[in-house]
């Protein structure tokens, strides 16, 4: 009976590790109407100096709308969209002026080629508000990276409460799955909202395996330690 319950606890150790592995990144930019969005998309020097670059909008229905293409020149201005390709600096500069609330949505920088476009940087989630946000920091730095996990709901792991009444309080480890990167952001007004993210950036496999293995090992050690403690408590 007890053994079955312990095995039931063990699977909980694995769930947070799997969730941590696949991270979906977006660049979230919040600006007021009339302001200008600036995005820098790294391109690598030279290799793609001859390729066309584009700024695209990803509609909710999955449709991709191309807003501006460099077309062989280094600068292009198309209405409110301005693209500057700097192959010698390995950077594509994008600017959207006179933002309106209708401009809110998901955008991306791409390199156009014979097959699928190469997605640069991260998808940009633009949010245009009617009024100014007020804080000077948000005016100067309107964009922040945000991490989202829309596929799996957050799970907290905790030990099952024992049926026998315990005379002392038991340690109850609770694992939060809020991404720690959110804590590091300087902007106080950042909100992470689960949305349908179309782009998945996966770090190379080894950078997931090692932290996941270390996390798993540390959790296993905690589990074994606490198990030994409770075994001794039962025996005493």
């Amino acid at each position: 009976m007890r053994k079955a319950r312990l095995w039931g606890l063990l699977w909980m150790l694995f769930v947070p590790e799997i969730q941590a592995a696949a991270k979906l990144f977006e660049e979230k930019c919040t600006l007021a109407e009339g302001q200008t969005l600036n995005v820098s998309c790294p391109t690598n020097t030279n290799i793609y100096s001859n390729s066309q670059k584009a700024w695209q909008r990803l509609k909710d229905n999955g449709e991709v709308q191309t807003l501006a293409i460099t077309e062989g020149s280094s600068q292009v201005q198309k209405g409110k969209y301005f693209l500057e390709d700097m192959p010698s600096e390995g950077m594509l500069q994008v600017r959207m002026t006179n933002l309106q609330v209708e401009d809110s949505g998901l955008y991306r920088c791409v390199i156009l080629g014979p097959s699928d476009p190469i997605i640069l940087f991260y998808p940009v989630r633009l949010v245009v508000t009617k009024n100014s946000l007020g804080t000077p920091d948000s005016d100067e730095y309107p964009c922040q990276i945000s991490v989202q996990n829309p596929t799996l709901p957050p799970v907290t792991t905790k030990l099952h409460p024992r049926p026998r009444p315990r005379p002392r309080p038991r340690p109850r480890p609770v694992t939060q799955l809020v991404p720690t990167s959110a804590d590091r952001l300087s902007s106080p007004g950042l909100t992470v909202t689960p949305t349908n993210v179309t782009h998945v950036t996966r770090a190379p496999g080894i950078s997931i395996v090692i932290p996941a293995a270390c996390g798993l090992l540390s959790k296993t050690l905690v589990f074994i330690g606490l198990f030994a403690v409770t075994q001794r408590s039962f025996a005493s």
Binding site: N44, I47, S88, G90, S181, R184, S186, V222, G225
Partner: protein, 205 residues
């Protein structure tokens, strides 16, 4: 008996918490390598999301004493000959396995041009790495430095490492070192274009 076991459990948890803390490794401070005072004032916006790895393409050093002199030489060249406010790099890495503090985490460097300097930390390996690779202790020192930077909030958790040649027209950081950093977990560059397979046979005449 049961109280002791509870204490043991808490001690175990505390120990694991400590073990998770990052090991930074030693950094040779500006004072220690007797750097000239910096006259730079432009601050880097924290947290920084890019790291650019370069090489000095100059003399190599492999002892703390010789690397100290080499750091001074690099600064001397940048300040006295090129007229910069300080040594261009944020950090220098010696083959002695030590990190030398340049402009540090907070000051904009002069290593990758006007587009990248304000958004990247520039670290430079002292030496020329076209035909040879830095020793493992130097690579470890660099990776520890970056891991520490991320842990302390100077770098974003998902910071991206780029080679100097990815962002400027240069051979830096050298073929050998560039191959190595491309295998680092935080290295990110635009995927290479797909090269079509060559034709299997010659056309008939």
């Amino acid at each position: 008996m049961s109280r002791r076991c509870a204490l043991l459990a808490w001690a175990l948890l505390a120990l694991l918490g400590l073990g998770a803390a990052q090991d930074c490794g030693p950094i040779v401070s500006r004072r220690e390598w007797r750097a000239l005072a910096s006259k730079c004032s432009r601050r880097l916006r924290q947290p920084v999301r890019y790291v650019v790895v370069s090489h000095t393409a100059g003399s190599v050093c492999d002892t703390p004493a010789s690397c100290l002199r080499q750091a001074q030489n690099v600064q001397h060249y940048h300040v006295r000959t090129l007229g910069w406010c300080d040594v261009g790099y944020n950090f220098l890495i010696g083959e002695d396995g030590l990190v030398y503090e340049g402009r540090g985490w907070n000051t904009i460097g002069a290593h990758s041009g006007p587009t990248w300097n304000p958004i990247a930390i520039g670290i430079s390996f002292m030496g020329n790495y076209m035909d040879r690779a830095p020793p493992a202790r130097a690579l470890r020192a660099a990776q520890n430095l970056l891991a520490c930077g991320a842990a302390r909030g100077y770098l974003t958790p998902n910071y991206e490492v780029k080679g100097h040649r990815d962002v400027q027209q240069t051979l830096s950081p050298g073929d050998q070192l560039y191959d190595i950093i491309q295998r680092w977990p935080h290295y990110r560059s635009v995927p290479q274009p797909h090269t079509p397979a060559p034709p299997q046979h010659l056309p008939a005449l």
